[in-house]
């Protein structure tokens, strides 16, 4: 009797799962396998794919003796430069987290009108996309852009942000801060702050703790799971970031300084039809994310206070 009931339930379970599972199979599982296979081929979509073994990975990650005889050169120096750019742009992550936390603390003061401010802070995150990137290209315009106009009023002469190698990446990081600081991370921190037991602060107040001491001894450790979560997710996203904004704002320039790995994959696959190579880069990216996440998990796990 019991086993028949179970079978009915199991059948129902599979039935409920089926629509999602078909999609999961068709557009996630199989493509992952196909992509791995693709990474070992050379294919321009016109002729038939050609198995090349590890050649893609060798030309991507390998090194060779430099022609002058001294030292070694990377087989694909561009790839390493794009990796550098991707990591450079991730410098915005810790800064953004600090700003988000600060905003959350400010919003968590028992003040009137907090919902109003929260709504405003969330607007950039909400509207992120091509429209905002075009807006920021206009703001960063060297001649008549908003930023240089405001700086001019303060007596500072601003550069052409998106046309100078030294400025393009910091400009993108700053834009990222503006877009993201009041967004998801701030709301997560706010939720974390609201979950802290007020009794802890009362006890600290009795001991005569200063606001900073309270923050260091209570708020920061109690928020460590939130910080940990945000950091892990941001790093995963950070490795994949940079395509939309660079495509709209700089086309990867000036001098490829805003080209990231995801832009490289786009170019390989959809501009140059190097499908096998693109798949190989995407797998290197995947492995990098996996390693970084495992590393963060092990290192961060020790610092998190539950």
């Amino acid at each position: 009797m019991a086993s028949r009931w179970n079978r009915r339930e199991a059948l129902a379970g599979y039935a409920f799962l089926l629509p999602n599972f078909i999609g999961f199979l068709l557009f996630t599982s199989l493509p992952v396998v196909a992509s791995l296979a693709l990474a070992f081929t050379k294919w321009d979509l016109l002729s038939s794919p050609e198995f090349v073994g590890l050649a893609n990975f060798k030309s991507l990650l390998g090194w060779h003796a430099a022609e002058a005889g001294a030292g070694f050169g990377a087989n694909d120096p561009r790839f390493w430069y794009y990796c550098f750019n991707t990591i450079y742009l991730m410098a915005g992550i810790p800064v953004g987290m600090i700003v988000s936390l600060g905003l959350a603390v400010a919003l968590n003061q028992k003040l009137r009108g907090v919902v109003f401010f929260r709504t405003i802070y969330f607007m950039p995150t909400l509207s992120a996309g091509v429209a905002l990137y075009i807006l920021w290209r206009w703001i960063y315009d060297g001649d008549f852009g908003l930023l240089n106009m405001l700086l001019g009023a303060l007596g500072v002469a601003g550069p052409e942000y998106l046309l100078e190698v030294a400025w393009a990446r910091p400009a993108l990081i700053f834009m990222g801060l503006w877009i993201g600081a009041g967004g998801f991370n701030m709301v997560l921190y706010l939720a974390g702050l609201q979950g802290i037991d007020p009794a802890l602060y009362e006890a600290a107040a009795i001991d005569g703790a200063s606001p900073w001491q309270k923050f260091r001894a209570i708020t920061w450790p109690m928020l460590s799971p939130t910080t940990f979560f945000i950091f892990i997710m941001s790093v995963i996203a950070g490795f994949q970031a940079g395509f939309d904004q660079a495509y709209v704002m700089t086309k990867g320039g000036p001098f490829e300084s805003t080209m990231t790995i995801s832009y490289y994959i786009y170019k390989l696959a959809f501009a140059w039809n190097h499908m096998g190579m693109a798949a190989a880069v995407s797998w290197v990216l995947f492995l990098a994310i996996l390693i970084a996440t495992l590393f963060n998990w092990r290192q961060g796990g020790r610092l998190v206070h539950y």
Binding site: P19, F27, V130, A191, Q240, S262
Partner: protein
């Protein structure tokens, strides 16, 4: 002692509000700038000093306010050596806002200078006695009033088919949203409420896929969709699958593959993320209700339909809003899967508007406003669910 405390408290309140206000202003100013630019005349964004609002200029001519356009501006500059000269503002470097520099076009040599007075070269545009007349007026005699123009919007709409873009974006975003909510709520119900062999392993597999970069799956899916029509044609001995389909004069793309609604929608119909989010919520619904329904003779589908879904409105609403927003602003996939103008979604259209009008800022800002407005409406309606949803998504499983 008590009074000192309240004074301190009031001071802290003011400080907090000041901080909140400054950040709020930082967040709002670019939006204001976007709307303001979209309502300016194209030549107006190239003026010095820049204006916050779209405005038109007029001068007092014999007691009569006459509308004028500012053609060029000249400034008297004092050189550090002591001399004075009169030059058009264009030959003064934009750094002139702060520390004006006069550039010798021959040698490129820059001389720091100080502006002592401005003159505007103006042309009368209001019909009447003075129409078309050009004259020079001291900048201080130039008056302005708020005057938005709507021409940028029509110009942007003529350059790319924004109306069609709206239809495409709405169709795609709605279809993806409905598909995701239906399939992931069903799957979440199975994961949270039903037991079957392999359930937990499968769920772990779902979770694991959330770490896979989009790029990994995107390339094979693209190839699949690109080849699909050809393979189907071969299979059925027809050319239907590569044909463009029309509904009267309305192009509805191809049946499958590149330039099809199928290609835009299908790969995004199923998510591990939505399944995960809803499962977390379903787990928290008390089982008693379910048992009661079961005694009343409800089947599994009845429980899903009449108990679980109605009780999960906040979570469903959250997923709905998130999915809609993500689908609305999605860029990379629609970019690679569409080729014809009529099949593009708004975000891609906006990017191609930028290709056409590289620095026509007024038209570009008008286009940006066109894309952002629906999002802001959805946000204002669903604000509460949105914020709650973020907290929900962070609950650890």
């Amino acid at each position: 002692m008590i009074e000192g405390g309240t004074a301190r408290k009031t001071f802290m309140h003011i400080a907090w509000y000041l901080a909140l206000g400054v950040v709020g202003l930082t967040m709002l100013t670019p939006f204001f700038w976007m709307i303001s630019t979209s309502l300016k005349r194209p030549e107006e964004v190239m003026t010095y000093p820049p204006t916050w609002l779209p405005c038109e200029y007029y001068v007092d001519l014999a007691g009569e306010a006459v509308e004028v356009t500012v053609v060029g501006r000249r400034f008297e500059l004092r050189l550090p050596s002591g001399g004075e000269l009169d030059v058009p503002v264009r030959s003064v470097r934009r750094r002139a806002f702060a520390q004006p520099r006069l550039i010798d076009p021959e040698t490129g040599f820059e001389t720091p200078v100080r502006i002592i007075g401005g003159l505007a070269d103006v042309r009368v545009i209001e019909p009447g006695l003075h129409k078309g007349k050009r004259f020079t007026s001291p900048a201080s005699d130039l008056h302005w009033r708020f005057a938005p123009v709507w021409g940028n919007y029509t110009r942007a709409c003529r350059a790319v088919p924004f109306f069609r873009g709206y239809i495409n974006s709405l169709t795609v975003a709605l279809a993806i949203t409905i598909g995701q909510v239906v399939t992931s709520s069903m799957a979440a119900f199975a994961f949270a409420r039903l037991s079957f062999p392999g359930r937990d392993k499968l769920f772990m597999a779902y979770l694991a896929t959330m770490m896979i970069p989009v790029a990994v799956t995107m390339i094979p899916v693209f190839i699949l969709l690109k080849q699909m029509p050809l393979v189907l044609n071969d299979l059925f001995h027809t050319d239907f699958w590569t044909r463009e389909l029309w509904l009267g004069r309305f192009l509805i793309g191809r049946a499958v593959g590149v330039d099809s609604y199928f290609g835009l929608i299908a790969p995004a119909l199923f998510t591990a993320y939505g399944t995960f989010l809803l499962r977390q919520f379903f787990m928290g619904i008390p089982r008693d209700l379910e048992d009661a329904a079961r005694i009343d003779g409800s089947g599994y589908f009845g429980i899903y339909r009449r108990i679980i879904l109605p009780l999960s409105k906040p979570a469903i609403a959250t997923l709905t809003i998130f999915t809609f927003m993500a689908a609305w602003k999605n860029f990379l996939w629609p970019l690679v899967i569409t080729e014809s103008d009529d099949m593009q979604v708004l975000s891609v259209m906006l990017a191609s508007l930028q290709t056409k009008y590289t620095t026509d800022w007024t038209a570009l800002m008008a286009g940006s406003v066109i894309q952002l407005v629906p999002m802001l409406i959805v946000f204002v309606i669903g604000q509460r669910y949105f914020i709650e949803g973020i907290k929900l998504g962070a609950v650890k499983g």
